[in-house]
Symmetry: C2
Subunit: 357 residues, 2 copies
DNA sequence: CTGAAAGCGCTAACAG
DNA sequence: CTGTTAGCGCTTTCAG
C-alpha cells in the first residue's frame, strides 16, 4: 500500500470499526483502554498519523492565524516566538501573515484565511474597529496592543511605562519632552501620546509631538532628528526603539550629543536597544509572555471559555541605560548643534569604562 | 440563511449543477463564459467565497510550511517577508514554524504538519541530510542556506562573499584573520569557514577559527571577544552580523578599538549592522529575493515542474562601512587591550563627522 | 459543455 | 463501550 493509511486501514488491522479508531484518537477515554491499546498498536504498525487536515465535519483545523504588521520589526520577533511556543504546546499551528502596515492587505488576507483557522490573533492591527468587531463575531479573536470594547485584548501598560519614563526624565531635571510619534493608525501610538500628556500635566512639564512615523523604523526616526532639535526640548520619548535609535543616530549626526544635550527614551526594549551607542533607555514589556498569553486566551475561547471584558494589561518596567542623562545647563540652540570635541571625548571615555551590561 | 453559502447554494441560485459551480471556480475555461458569468454573479450575490479548506478530494491546501530556526533573528525577517509576499501573490498561505535551533523540534513539527501543506521551505535547517531527503520524497521541499544533493536549494554565494571580505581585508594590510564560527550544525557555517580557508590559502594569509556559537547572537559574539584578542589576529570575520556585533562590543569593552586595532566583518547586512558603532562592514545577500525565489520554486514544483539539480546561488556584495580599517602597525598584545584615551577620543570625533549613511 | 453520482477521511448521532 | 450510518463541501469520473 502506498497511500497514507487511513482510520479504515487501522480499524481493519485492529479488528474494530473506523469510528472507534476515530474516537480513540479524537477523544481519549471514550474507548476501553484495552481496545485503545490495540488500535494504537495497529496504527503504529501501519504508520498511521492523525491528519492535521480538518475533517470537513469538525471544523477543528487546530490552526490559528497570527497577523502582524511587519515581520521585519524585531518587536514582533519575541511576540511571535511566545505565541508560537504556546501554540505548539497546545497543539495548534500558526498561520502567519504580515501586512506591511497596510490595513487593506490585512482585511483581504484575513478574510481569505478566516475559514481555515479556529481563531485569530491580531497584533497591532491597523484595521478599523468595526472591521475587527465584525470579524470577532465570526471567530474568536484576540487583539494585541489595541483596545476595543467587546474584543478581548492584551495591552502593555503604556500609561505606566510612559509615566515611569517621564518621572525618570524629571528626576534628571528635564522639563520639556518631545514625543516622536509612530503610525497614525496605531492604537498604541495614541495611547502613548495620551499617557504622555497626562503625565506631563501631573508632573508639570511641557510636551510636544512630532511625527507621525507611519513606518516606525530607524530610518524614520533618523529623519526626525532635525525637528527634534528645533523643538528645543532636552528629552525625547519615541514611539518605539527603532524610532528612538533613529533619533539618536540623527542627533549624533547633527552634532547633538546624546545624552549630554538631549536624552532619548525608547519603547519595547528590543535587542536593538543594546546595540546602539549609547545604549538606549527604554520601556520593557514582556513580549514573549504577551504572545503566549494571547494564544492561551484564544485557545481558551475556542474551547468555549468566555473571555473577560477587561483587557489584560501586561506590566512594564523602565530599563535605564545610557541614552538618558542629567539635563544640561544650556539647551541646544534651535537648529544648531553645540557639540564640540571635548564633549565627545568625554562621552567616548565614558563609553570605554562602562561598556554594555 | 446564516451558514456560509456553499457551491450548492450558488448552483441553485444560478440554476446549474453544483459540479458546474465547482468547475467554474476550480478550472476556468472548462465552463461556457456565459454560464460562468451567471455563476459568479450568483456567488457574488450570496457572498460565496471559495473555501481555503482543503476539499478532502483535492489535497490542495494552498498552504506552504516555512520553517526557520529562530524568528527572533533579524536575518530571517527579510527572508520571511519575501517568502510571504511571493506566497501571497501566488495564492498561497504560510504556515510558520520556528524551531529554536533544535533539530528534534524541527523534525517533530515538520512531521506533524506535513500533511497539511503542499510544500515545505526549510530555512537553515538543522535537520540531518537524510531526514530532509526523506521528507523531500513525500512533498516538494526547497532548502535555503544548505546544499544537499537531490533537494533543490537556494544558497547565498558564501564563497564569493568571504572572498570579497578577505580581499578587502588584505587590501587594508591584514594578513591574519580569525573566523568566529556559528552553529556547528549549520551548513552555512561550514561553507563560510571552508571558503575562508581557501581564500586564505590563495591570498596567502593566516586564518584561525574560534567558536562555535551555537546560538549565533550578539551575546555569543560578545563572549568570544577575549578569545579574539588572544589570537592576535588584526581582523575577524564572523559567522553573521549578530556575532560580529557582539565581537565589536566585546572588543570595545576590553579596550580594543575597532577598527583601529582589529577590523571586524559581519555577514548578512541585517538592519543591526547600521546601528552598531562603528557601523559594520558586512556581506550583503538579497534576503527578500531569496525568500521570494524559494517560494516561487516551491510552487512551481507543486505545479509539477522539475526543479533544477543545481542549486540557485544568490549574488552577494560587500558593504564596506567603518568596522574595517587599515591594519595598525602593532598588533594588539595578547590578552591585553591597548586602548587609551587619545585613541578613543579620535574615534569618537570621527564618529561625529561621518555619521551613518 | 454540463449533470448525476460517487466518494475523499473523518466525526457524530443513534442504536445497540 | 462500540458498530452503523449518514453526511461535511468539494472534485471528479462518467455519461450525456
Amino acid at each position: 500500500m502506498d497511500r497514507r493509511p487511513t482510520i479504515y486501514d487501522v480499524a481493519q488491522a485492529a479488528g474494530v470499526a473506523a469510528s472507534t479508531v476515530s474516537r480513540a484518537f479524537a477523544r481519549p477515554g471514550r474507548v476501553k483502554a484495552e481496545t485503545a491499546r490495540r488500535i494504537f498498536e495497529a496504527a503504529e504498525a501501519l504508520g498511521y498519523r492523525t491528519t492535521a487536515l480538518p475533517g470537513l465535519v469538525s471544523r477543528r483545523t487546530r490552526t490559528l492565524a497570527l497577523v502582524v504588521t511587519d515581520i521585519t520589526n524585531p518587536f514582533y520577533g519575541d511576540i511571535i516566538r511566545g505565541a508560537h511556543e504556546a501554540a505548539h504546546e497546545l497543539g495548534y499551528t500558526l498561520l502567519l501573515s504580515h501586512t506591511q502596515e497596510d490595513a487593506q492587505l490585512e482585511r483581504d488576507w484575513t478574510e481569505r484565511e478566516l475559514t481555515a483557522v479556529e481563531g485569530v490573533l491580531l497584533t497591532s492591527s491597523r484595521m478599523s474597529d468595526s472591521a475587527i468587531r465584525m470579524m470577532a463575531k465570526q471567530k474568536p479573536v484576540v487583539v494585541l496592543n489595541r483596545r476595543l470594547p467587546e474584543v478581548p485584548s492584551i495591552l502593555v501598560d503604556n500609561a505606566r511605562g510612559i509615566r515611569r519614563a517621564v518621572e525618570h526624565l524629571t528626576e534628571l531635571g528635564h522639563d520639556a519632552v518631545t514625543y516622536v510619534a509612530g503610525p497614525e493608525s496605531s492604537w498604541t501610538d495614541g495611547a502613548r501620546w495620551l499617557a504622555l500628556r497626562e503625565a506631563a500635566h501631573e508632573l508639570d512639564i511641557r510636551v510636544r509631538r512630532i511625527g507621525p512615523c507611519n513606518n516606525p523604523t530607524v530610518h524614520a526616526g533618523f529623519g526626525r532628528a532635525r525637528e527634534v532639535v528645533t523643538t528645543s526640548s532636552t528629552a525625547v520619548i519615541a514611539y518605539n526603539d527603532a524610532v528612538a535609535i533613529g533619533v539618536v543616530k540623527g542627533l549624533t549626526r547633527l552634532g547633538v550629543p546624546v545624552p549630554e544635550a538631549v536624552s532619548v527614551v525608547g519603547f519595547d526594549n528590543t535587542l536593538l536597544s543594546e546595540i546602539i551607542e549609547p545604549e538606549l533607555t527604554t520601556v520593557a514589556a514582556p513580549l514573549q509572555a504577551m504572545g503566549a498569553t494571547a494564544v492561551k486566551n484564544l485557545v481558551a475561547m475556542i474551547g468555549g471559555a468566555v473571555p473577560s471584558r477587561e483587557p489584560i494589561i501586561m506590566p512594564v518596567r523602565l530599563v535605564v541605560r545610557r541614552s538618558t542623562g542629567q539635563r544640561s545647563r544650556n539647551r541646544v540652540s534651535p537648529a544648531l548643534g553645540t557639540r564640540n570635541v571635548s564633549s565627545s571625548a568625554s562621552a567616548a571615555a565614558r563609553s570605554t569604562e562602562s561598556g554594555s551590561r
